[in-house]
């Protein structure tokens, strides 16, 4: 059986920073802070976060901060959004430096995006999605400021996005999708509201994501993709149904998606690697207690020693 090429993955992640010139890197610029979170969390799971200079990272993160409103942009000079604000807070948590934040101000920004029906807008322009509910709740929980929002309404909105198949979508009536399910289950787990979930029904939907090749897909009729190792597995763990899938086969699938020469993990075997799938592959292995990895918290998506504040 293949082994996890930890050293090569570390090298790969550290190398991403250096090639800023190619088109692909440029087109990712607007969500650089998400990329930083994926890369840094992977390094931490691999016990190699010491390879980066915390001060350098933190000062860059804080340059993405909007003092006027309390949110973070995806890069310096970019508009604030919940997706980026969560990544910023997670990165600071990784380095145990939440103290550099004006937690009050950030939490007011996040809480200000809650709507009357309990849902969250991603930013001032009003797009609503259960992903943003997760971002808000996870972020506020890390900052110990959940009391700033109406948790009950937030939970009720998420529950209203539940489908008859047990899964969850972006908004009420939206198709079930493993990524959205992670967000909804994560938010419900953090707020202690998992009693709203039919664990057997959802567990059934989730474990039917396992394909013949052992990998997981994100919804029916799709091919397996490494990133769903994270979203499906973490959800299964949170609802205590992870024993319903074949973990050995999934482990083999992920290991098979490694670039064994240059490091990095791709979405499917023999595809091009990227930092996103490298993170989800390594995080998925960590959830399955692959030897030598730090274990990761399925709801906060941070190493447990970090999430354990």
């Amino acid at each position: 059986m293949d082994e996890l090429e930890s050293d090569k993955h570390v090298k790969y992640i550290l190398s991403i920073e250096k090639k800023k010139d190619d088109v692909e890197a440029l087109l990712m610029e607007h969500l650089r802070i998400n990329g930083a979170y994926w890369g840094l969390t992977t390094l931490d799971i691999l016990h190699k976060i010491s390879a980066v200079d915390p001060e350098e990272v933190i000062s860059w993160v804080m340059k993405c901060y909007h003092e006027d409103c309390g949110g973070f942009g995806g890069n310096i000079g970019h508009d604030p959004h919940l997706l980026y604000t969560l990544s910023a807070v997670q990165i600071l948590a990784l380095f145990d430096r939440i103290d550099v934040l004006d937690a009050e101000k950030v939490s007011i920004y996040v809480a200000g995006l809650q709507n009357e029906d309990g849902s969250f807008s991603g930013d001032m322009w009003g797009e609503i999605d259960t992903r943003f509910s997760y971002c808000a709740i996870c972020c506020l929980s890390i900052l110990h400021c959940l009391n700033k929002i109406n948790v009950e309404k937030a939970v009720n909105y998420i529950v209203s996005c539940k489908n008859l198949d047990g899964g969850f979508g972006c908004t009420p009536g939206g198709e079930s999708h493993a990524g959205q399910i992670f967000c909804c289950i994560g938010a419900l787990a953090i707020t202690g509201s998992l009693h709203h979930v039919d664990r057997d029904l959802l567990g059934w939907w989730l474990c039917e994501r396992q394909c013949k090749n052992g990998g997981l897909n994100g919804r029916p009729e799709k091919d397996a993709d490494v990133c769903y190792s994270w979203w499906v597995l973490s959800s299964l763990i949170m609802i205590d149904r992870v024993h319903w899938i074949d973990k050995d086969k999934l482990t083999r699938f992920i290991l098979n998606c490694q670039d064994k020469e240059n490091g990095g993990i791709s979405d499917k075997p023999n595809y091009a690697v990227d930092v996103f799938h490298t993170y989800f592959g390594v995080a998925g292995l960590s959830l399955m207690e692959y030897p030598g990895l730090k274990s990761i918290d399925p709801a906060y998506a941070l190493p447990v020693d970090v999430a354990d504040w």
Binding site: D79, E127, G174, W244, I245, D246, K249
Partner: protein
């Protein structure tokens, strides 16, 4: 990024060319990013598909040997751009330069625009209204121009979409929204999953909904756009999510129309779970007839609901038997059975002229027969599709057994255990072993 000034100048020059092209050909509906090496190949054959190579179109040949191309008054470098018949191709070799130039131009215009807004707020809006207005308009058009170029290159650049929203929400002119639909449609033509473009479209629809009462025509057009994009981009979650979201704005009769029209499409795309989900969304809207909106439309009655679900069940059975091993069809059947069991199966009185209302046992009996038929069509050559069909059929019955009272569940599972050899199935479908073992009572 080089950073040297000559490269920056070249980038700026290219950006101006691109923006001129976009300004003069407002109807551009396709963009492709092409390596110049592909140019010779592009000159051959007619354009037929959406692949970037073909977007250049057949008429590229007759202009390729000129140095510069004239389009009205637009001069551009023909090694970098190609524009004809409302199609635009951009050489991938210049993308980094072009992107950086567009980024800088946007950031600069955006900064100045926001500054001007701030100073107006500080001064109070009535001060020197005229000159402020001209300047404002200039900055607005700068922002719109540069964001258009930047978004074509980097379509999920949120801040750039936001800047367009800012301009539009300050102007509040309906006519301007047309441009937003055009730009997002253009981007979706080559990036059909672009979150930025879909989200911007949704925002635009919401803005219009605040001002216009009758949205029927708009909703219909949006729904058609999704249909066309879904044709080329399979299982596109974002696209279908847009369509599901539109249901909120549909009238009851539009819901029925959509249900009718998506039927044919679903038959032609039986593996596209998104389309079946869309039908579920529409059906649930019909079934929730209790909360009919104001406006006096006739609420759907019980009989037509029974009939709608029953018809869908029959149709789905036909598809399952015709297209072997399609997970999406079985998932759809789960939903339909669930609805049937919940709403109608325990109702003994038949009130529809079309169907004999069946009780739960009759219904389960029929479903069991369907599964049996699917198992028995399994041939010796063990084709993949037949294997999947058997897996989905057994899974379906097991799943249904969890949706009914436990006394019925026990009966159904006992029948199942008699009909199939589970030890055999566990060997064949190891990826379902754990789940099935857990759910068997």
């Amino acid at each position: 990024m080089g950073g040297d000034s000559s490269s920056e100048e070249v980038g700026l020059d290219l950006l101006q060319q691109l923006e001129l092209i976009l300004e003069h050909d407002k109807l551009i509906d396709e963009v492709g990013f092409v390596h110049p090496d592909q140019f010779p190949a592009l000159n051959e054959g007619p354009s037929s598909s959406l692949s970037p190579v073909c977007i250049l179109g057949q008429s590229a040949a007759d202009i390729l040997n000129k140095d510069t191309v004239e389009l009205h008054v637009v001069q551009y470098d023909e090694k970098v751009f190609w524009n004809k018949d409302h199609k635009l191709a951009i050489s991938i070799l210049v993308l980094p330069q072009l992107y950086n130039a567009a980024l800088n131009a946007y950031m600069d215009a955006n900064r100045r625009y926001k500054q001007s807004i701030r100073s107006q707020i500080n001064k109070g809006s009535f001060d020197d209204a005229n000159c402020g207005c001209d300047f404002d308009q200039f900055l607005e058009s700068e922002v719109l121009k540069h964001t258009r170029a930047l978004l074509i290159l980097s379509y999920d650049f949120k801040s750039a979409w936001n800047s367009r929203k800012l301009v539009l929400s300050r102007k509040q002119e309906l006519s301007l929204f047309v441009d937003e639909f055009q730009l997002s449609a253009l981007i979706l033509s080559y990036a059909p999953k672009s979150e930025g473009a879909w989200s911007h479209r949704q925002w635009t629809v919401k803005m219009i909904a605040e001002k216009v009462h009758d949205l029927q025509e708009l909703v219909k057009k949006e729904s058609e756009l999704v249909k066309n994009i879904a044709e080329k981009s399979k299982m596109n979650y974002r696209a279908w999510n847009h369509r599901c979201w539109l249901v909120l704005y549909m009238t009851e009769s539009q819901v029925l129309d959509e249900l009718n029209m998506s039927r044919k499409w679903a038959e032609l795309h039986v593996a596209d779970n998104c389309c079946f989900h869309y039908r579920r969304r529409l059906m649930l809207r019909i079934l929730s007839n209790g909360d009919v909106k104001e406006g006096g439309e006739k609420p759907f009655n019980y009989n037509s609901n029974v009939y709608a679900v029953w018809k869908e069940l029959q149709w789905n059975k036909l598809l399952i038997q015709r297209y072997i091993g399609r997970e999406a069809l079985w998932i759809h059947r789960r939903f339909l059975s669930q609805c049937w069991i919940k709403h109608f199966a325990n109702n003994q009185k038949s009130s529809s002229p079309h169907i004999e209302a069946t009780g739960l046992d009759d219904f389960l009996g029929e479903e069991f027969e369907l599964m049996n038929a699917c198992l028995n069509t399994q041939t010796d050559d063990e084709l993949d599709d037949y294997q999947s069909q058997a897996k989905h059929a057994v899974s379906y019955i097991l799943w249904i057994s969890k949706q009914i009272p436990s006394c019925s569940e026990v009966k159904l599972q006992e029948r199942l255990k008699e009909a199939v050899n589970f030890e055999d199935l566990f060997m064949k479908y190891p990826e379902r072993l754990m789940l099935w073992k857990k759910v068997l009572v």
